[in-house]
Amino acid sequence: MENLLLLLDGFQVVFTLQNVLVTLLGAVLGLIVGAMPGVGSLAGVALLLPLTYRFNPTTAIIMLGALYYSNMYGGSFSAILLNIPGDTPAVMTALDGYPMAMKRKRPGQALFTSNISSFVGGLIGMLILTFMGPALADLGLKFGPAEMTALLLVAMTSIGWLVGKNPTKGVVLTLVGILIATMGMDTLTGSPRYNFGNMYLLGGIPFTPFVIGSVGFAQVLKLVSEKNNKVEPHLEEKLTIKGSLLTRHELRRLLPPALRSGFLGTFVGVLPGAGATTGSFLGYALQKSFKSEEELGTGAIEGVAACEAANNAAAAGSFAPLLALGIPGSGTGAVLLGGLMMWGLNPGPLLFSTQPDFCWGLISSLFLANLLTLMIALLIIPFLIKILTVPIKLMIPAITVICIVGAYSTSNSMYGVLVMFVSGVLGFVLDRNGYSTAPMLLSFVLAPLLESNMRKAFIISRGSIGIFFEKPISLVLMLILFAIILTPIVRGVVTKIQGSRG
């Protein structure tokens, strides 16, 4: 009950004209950028990050939250109409969304199903976040430096394993991200380190240009290979809102999978390193064990509803560990966390008690963003084809310019542009060779927290590693960490043995 009152307080923060307009702007921009094939939510949020500089911290974060959340809606549009997922969580949406649009000739209904399910899933995620966020923060208050170190190691390692096909490459970039973050000033003593005599490096590598480069500009270089791909949906009729409406029977078919996936997705989102993509996969897998009126994979409403509800619920659920423990569930979450830190906010167990206005304002703004995004997502259905068919040939110079101007605007100096350029080129080369940059972003953001907790733990224990195994919470977390590290190794050995036998 207390949480609901705090949520109402949060709505008082949100319902100012500026904050409502900013949520609306974030929802529109996030939706459009998320819908554009080839851009995706990570690059979308990174490119739009400089836009928040104009506002006070609360308004800026509200806009970031709306951007992040509406991006999740947008990713499914290109998956349904073009069979090109706008981001990875939308991969599963394409399995039923595209056949529903093309084989069953019901593109409008597929979009409508996706939007309504996203709303339902997101709403469930936000309601659970309202109760779970503070509870998780209370649990987090019991965490000392050793527990936090173990938790951060689990978060970093799990995303290293999950992103990309090769866990070794994920871990390499996780470690590189940590080392990049150590450049500049020592977090505890404030003394300069690893600046190689360079004045600019004293302040470390600036977050926004680094993210814009390694995600946004790297994506531009990648897009060149796709610029001749035809992205034209073959629709027989124009998309209209009226023609996209679902019947009452279809709404009844949509609700059970959306509700189930909403709960499942939220809990997946809360897990460190899991996030919307895993949520979407599991939501679809769960639906397979239930009866669907049409077979999954042939354009079933249940298939679209299950994965869309799950990925939006996971996106909402991931705010719980992000706010309460300072741990993001994905690369996009890491950008969001970086944005929070840029504004001087330190997500963690104390955030709910020290800055309740901010916390509850942000959570309330997610409810508003969910509603506004649903309305906009339904209203733009007739214009979607135009948005989705912006030629990649024109997007390449446009995004290049946005990357340069955005990177410059962060510090009003060409140093930011240079950081963006170098990290973009490196990000592209790494991506081309199977190294996903998401673990690097996550570790770059989390490294200062990990370092300060680890050093504090060693100061307390006077250098004994035993501190990580003494208390139950840290012991359990360390066991999880070892399980994460050993699983691929054991799996590899078992596969080899089976291969040699068979």
């Binding site: 470690l175 080392l179 060149v224 110079p397 340069i404 973009g424 100061i459």
Partner: protein
């Protein structure tokens, strides 16, 4: 896709990350300090540990890289980087706005061979976004370049 198993960028990446690890651990040990008997871990402590793990994992990635297929990057993929570099260098002389306009026109009209109508429309829309959002709304003072600066004084 070229699947030749030869030395290439995929092999170079783990070598470079191992070098980064070695640099960080050496500087950590020699310049910033690892451990103090009374004060505990010093500024070089954490990067040194991470550097050691990075060297080990990079060695593992290096062995795995020989099995990876080579994925050469077509020259065309580097053109946006050349364009961005052009804007960066052009900014120093002609200013950022002029360099951006020149880049957009060259790219859209002469590289992608769009009509003048599309070129001008797209350039105008993008310049309006840059000027409206960044110059007026966010009040970013774009660099004017050596030439305009010379006229200003």
């Amino acid at each position: 896709m070229d699947t030749k198993k030869s030395f290439g960028v995929r092999t170079l990446i783990p070598i470079l990350t191992a070098v980064v690890g070695i640099v960080f651990l050496l500087l950590g040990l020699t310049q910033y300090g690892f451990w103090h008997e009374l004060r505990g871990p010093l500024p070089g402590f954490f990067p040194t540990l991470v550097g050691i793990v990075l060297v080990i994992i990079s060695a593992l990635a290096l062995f795995q890289s020989f099995r990876d297929p080579a994925r050469p990057v077509p020259m065309e993929n580097w053109l946006p980087a050349v364009g961005a570099l052009g804007i960066i260098l052009g900014t120093l002389v002609f200013g950022m706005l002029f360099s951006i306009i020149a880049f957009l026109i060259i790219w859209i009209r002469y590289y992608e061979k769009y009509s003048w109508k599309t070129t001008i429309t797209t350039t105008l829309i993008l310049v309006a976004i840059v000027v409206g959002v960044f110059m007026f709304w966010l009040q970013v003072p774009f660099p004017k370049g050596l030439i305009l600066d010379a006229f200003a004084y």
